[in-house]
Symmetry: C2
Subunit: 276 residues, 2 copies
């Protein structure tokens, strides 16, 4: 199977429409139809059920969409990591959520820079749920993830720190005088919604937020309250109040990397992180 065919297939599988898919791929519709036909004939499997009005995935097509995306990610990762491996300019790319691990990250970077044989580290701060794809498609070499929010499926990981969570409130909020609180007491309050793995938001009450800066501004405006890991405290504006949530799930920060690609600099970074 050629990557070109697989890209074509994924486009059609996502659009479920040959015309739009061809458009997205920058080509005409007939060769796309033909390419998919070729692919189906060569695999010996029907991937789509098509009527002249609708296109749908067969079970085999569903499998190929899932596995094919992973394969395309692996191809992209191979390409990107190779391009970054030009002689003498070795670097590491670390990705993490903007606003998270605000105390851990500088410590880690300083400690690693002091290690013998360390290389420059580029830091990518991205929105929630983008780190995984960065790691999967080779834009990054290593990530700081936060359980139970992020999934570590397919990555090797080491646990770094575990912490409790706190409730963040605007200054004048009725609950801001409390010294602690439980999840049960928050059950009626809509918490902000983060984008899922596909980048879309689940339905429900509560404001849609994309990153911490946005969230904190909404809280300052009295439009939201949120439960966040304790380590976000140093980043809070002065006008917000913090109330420990006694029974919120513990948040574990882990360092994660793709299971192959364990270069010497990466191994050093991981070792440094676990020793902090």
């Amino acid at each position: 199977m050629e990557t070109r065919e697989l890209r074509y297939f994924v486009a059609v599988a996502e659009e479920l429409h040959f015309g739009r898919a061809a458009d997205r791929l920058g080509m005409a519709q007939p060769p796309l139809s033909r390419a998919i036909g070729h692919l189906e004939r060569r695999l010996g499997v029907s991937l789509f059920t098509r009527t002249s009005r609708a296109v749908a995935l067969t079970p085999a097509g569903t499998v190929l969409l899932r596995e094919g995306r992973a394969a395309l990610d692996a191809m992209e990762a191979a390409e990107r990591r190779t391009q970054r491996a030009v002689d003498g300019t070795e670097r590491l790319v670390l990705v993490t959520k903007a606003g998270a691990s605000s105390d851990l990250l500088p410590k880690l970077l300083d400690a690693y820079a002091a290690e013998p044989g360390s290389v420059p580290v580029d830091v990518i701060l991205c929105g929630v749920a983008e780190q995984e794809s960065h790691l999967r498609d080779g834009r990054a070499d290593v990530a700081l993830l936060h359980l139970p929010f992020d999934s570590t499926a397919g990555f090797d990981t080491e646990e770094l720190v575990t912490e409790g969570q706190v409730l963040i409130l605007p200054g004048g909020h009725p609950l801001s005088t409390r010294t602690s609180i439980t999840m049960a007491e928050l059950s009626g309050i809509p918490l902000p919604r983060w984008p899922g793995h596909n980048g879309a938001y689940a339905d429900g009450p509560g404001p849609e937020v994309r990153d911490h800066a946005q969230l904190l501004q909404l809280i300052s405006l009295g439009r939201a309250v949120a439960v966040l890991p304790e380590s976000c405290r140093p980043l809070l504006p002065y006008d917000l109040t913090v109330v420990p949530v006694t029974d919120a799930p513990q948040v574990t920060t882990v360092i994660a990397w793709p299971p192959h690609s364990r270069s010497r600099p990466l191994a050093t970074l991981i070792r440094t992180a676990t020793r902090l």
Copy 2:
């Protein structure tokens, strides 16, 4: 990057010889040279240093070999799993070492077959260190691996059972009267060597073995002794003696599967395994 180019690159990187690589690929040498040249130009990195006498990988080439193999495995896996997903004939392919988990496996298969919604399970018994590639390139959906011997890098796993190890001896062996033994006492005895991840054997003393049947025959012949997990006992010929090794590393059997590809039947199998 097209898979064809990547296959070409891997062939050259493994042979370190354009002529032999072209031979292996069933093509002539000039188009292969040209394809590699194209790839290098498009990636913007040099992958090989070539003189007219020798070909060697650059650092970037080393990265591409590692990442590219993973990507090709992912492509193959996508293809194979898709072909196996033809409607109505869903099956699971389980791979494990021949001779290992001899008690666990039938129990698991029986328990799973009794589950509602279970599908037929094909069992592949293979040599040591082949399971990982089966799982990686889509020939299998799920594997029983044994820590610390196998690597679970890149797979999701659940621990199933942990057991000690025992020393297997031919009947008349001087140590066969012992009721227990320690690793230190075995330090002078050469233990059999298993093939590594590349299929090659490490240098050193001790016979080279490929599977359990071969090993047990060598032990019966008095040409080897071995330390194996306790669960191999039911498979031993009557003329072998077993001595518990008190301080041998514990062996953990885990069920492992690729982190994506979590179909309903697979999830059921995993759940069944963890409940045994």
